[in-house]
């Protein structure tokens, strides 16, 4: 009778060796599949964006009409459809408001009679400072930055694209629908406000 060595009762260490191969094999497969899954997820983040620029020239501040009533503002809508920005002229100066409702991103409409922005999608209302006075919006409207070019025209940056929202909202520690007192000081000076000496 030749010695019969069955597979299951093999030489010393055979079971542990088989276990080692099992663990190695399955973990390799697991590693490969997770790598492939991660690569697949990463694929959905484009490396380059072909989106419209978020910086544009809004002309000279003098072009914008001053309000007759000093407590009201005049909202210019010439850049509303192309840039989603309102140029707001108050009795003291100019500021630029981004026309993106902070609730879910529709474009609100300006009602001069009521001096309010109203969003058609879910009924958020904003006052002339962009503060929420009604509806579901959680934050005031974004302020775009205004820089004066050497020729005196206004360069407006919305910062919607790219790295972050306008700095003011990005740093907003209080998630309130109105500006805090410190923020009110911030939005009354450059770069969020351009004073015009009458």
């Amino acid at each position: 009778m030749a010695e019969h060595v069955s597979e299951s009762s093999g030489g010393k260490g055979a079971p542990s060796r088989r276990k080692f191969f099992l663990i190695t094999g399955w973990s390799s497969l697991g590693l490969f599949l997770s790598g492939a899954g991660a690569a697949f997820a990463r694929y959905f983040y484009p490396g380059v964006l072909y989106e419209p620029q978020t910086t544009f020239n809004a002309g000279r501040p003098e072009e914008y009409v001053k309000p007759v009533n000093p407590t009201e503002v005049v909202v210019d809508e010439r850049f509303k459809s192309s840039q989603r920005v309102w140029i707001v002229r108050s009795s003291k100066g100019v500021y630029a408001m981004v026309g993106v409702c902070t609730h879910l991103g529709c474009t609100p409409n300006w009602f001069p009679g009521e001096q309010r922005f109203k969003c058609p999608c879910h009924g958020s209302n904003y006052n002339v400072e962009g503060e929420v006075v009604a509806g579901p919006a959680p934050l005031p409207l974004f302020r775009a930055k205004i820089k004066l070019a050497p020729d005196g025209s206004m360069i407006i940056t919305t910062g919607l694209l790219g790295i972050k929202r306008p700095e003011l909202q990005y740093k907003k520690s209080t998630l309130l629908p109105r500006w805090t007192d410190e923020e009110k000081i911030d939005i009354a000076k450059a770069p969020y406000f351009l004073e015009i000496k009458a």
Partner: protein, 268 residues
């Protein structure tokens, strides 16, 4: 004797129709295709179900309760029929529609007014889509009310819920394709909701700890940008026409297979 001759293969004087059927079916070409020959006996009819690829989804015998319209409402079958209709009309629409910002809306308008039969095709696609959402919900209601989700069918209910999700996603991705105001703003609003997801949405809680911003959060991955644009359009198109239908089809095959294995539920 009310028995039909075909039941027992009795040789009677065949009529004209039987002669034509015999001519078409009693030959090698027909048998090579259908394997069992013309199913003129009960045994052959059962053999058709067992041996034909096309017919094998059907059981050889169905309990009468499985045919009670008042019990099933036929809503699952109607849903599947609508899916087939949507696939057919959708593929036909793809011959004209180009998912590109400057063309999408005008192509949709061309389909409506200029393409021969475009109006009926587009409207069939649209109405079938609305009807499918409705029929899926009614089908689920029926399954719930008749207790058909209970053991051994619990897992098929789970597959059904996944199919409901896919149906709604198909509707949502199709919404953007006309590139009109309605679809554009609906998808703007809908995808902005993804930004409120905890951790992976830039407006959601805890996202600041992960460094999640507007240009690397989950919404960015969905629409391929920071705003609805060309990337969002082509992505919605590919999800709508290829990826989601494939996933839904795979789940449907499984869903139907489970129905066959578990049998039709019925009144006890």
């Amino acid at each position: 004797m009310a028995e039909t001759p075909s039941e027992h293969g009795k040789q009677q004087e065949p009529g004209l129709l039987s002669k034509i059927v015999r001519l078409l079916t009693d030959n090698d070409i027909y048998r090579s295709f259908f394997r069992t020959g013309y199913p003129d006996t009960l045994l052959k009819r059962m053999a058709v179900m067992r041996s034909s690829f096309v017919m094998h989804i059907l059981p050889t015998k169905v309990g009468t309760h499985g045919l009670k319209l008042g019990y099933t409402w036929c809503m699952g079958g109607i849903t599947f029929f609508l899916f087939l209709m949507l696939t057919l009309t959708g593929v036909i629409l793809m011959f004209y529609y180009v998912p590109e910002e400057s063309r999408a809306f005008t192509d949709m308008k061309d389909l409506k007014f200029m393409v021969p039969y475009g109006m009926i095709l587009r409207n069939m696609h649209r109405w079938a889509a609305h009807a499918m959402v409705f029929s899926v919900i009614v089908h689920m209601a029926r399954v719930f009310y008749t207790g058909s989700y209970k053991a051994p069918r619990q897992f098929n209910w789970v597959v059904g819920v996944l199919l409901l999700t896919l149906t709604l996603l198909l509707s949502f991705t199709g919404y953007l394709l006309p590139w009109d105001q309605l679809g554009f703003w609906a998808v703007t609003v809908g995808t902005n909701m993804a930004s409120a997801t905890p951790f992976i949405g830039f407006e959601g809680p805890f996202s600041e700890f992960l460094g999640v911003r507007i240009d690397n959060d989950i919404r960015f991955a969905i629409i391929g940008g920071t705003r609805i644009g060309a990337n969002a359009l082509i992505r919605a198109y590919v999800w709508h026409c290829v990826a989601l239908p494939l996933i839904a089809s795979a789940l449907m095959v499984f869903h139907f297979w489970r129905v066959r294995k578990d049998g039709f539920s019925g009144p006890l």
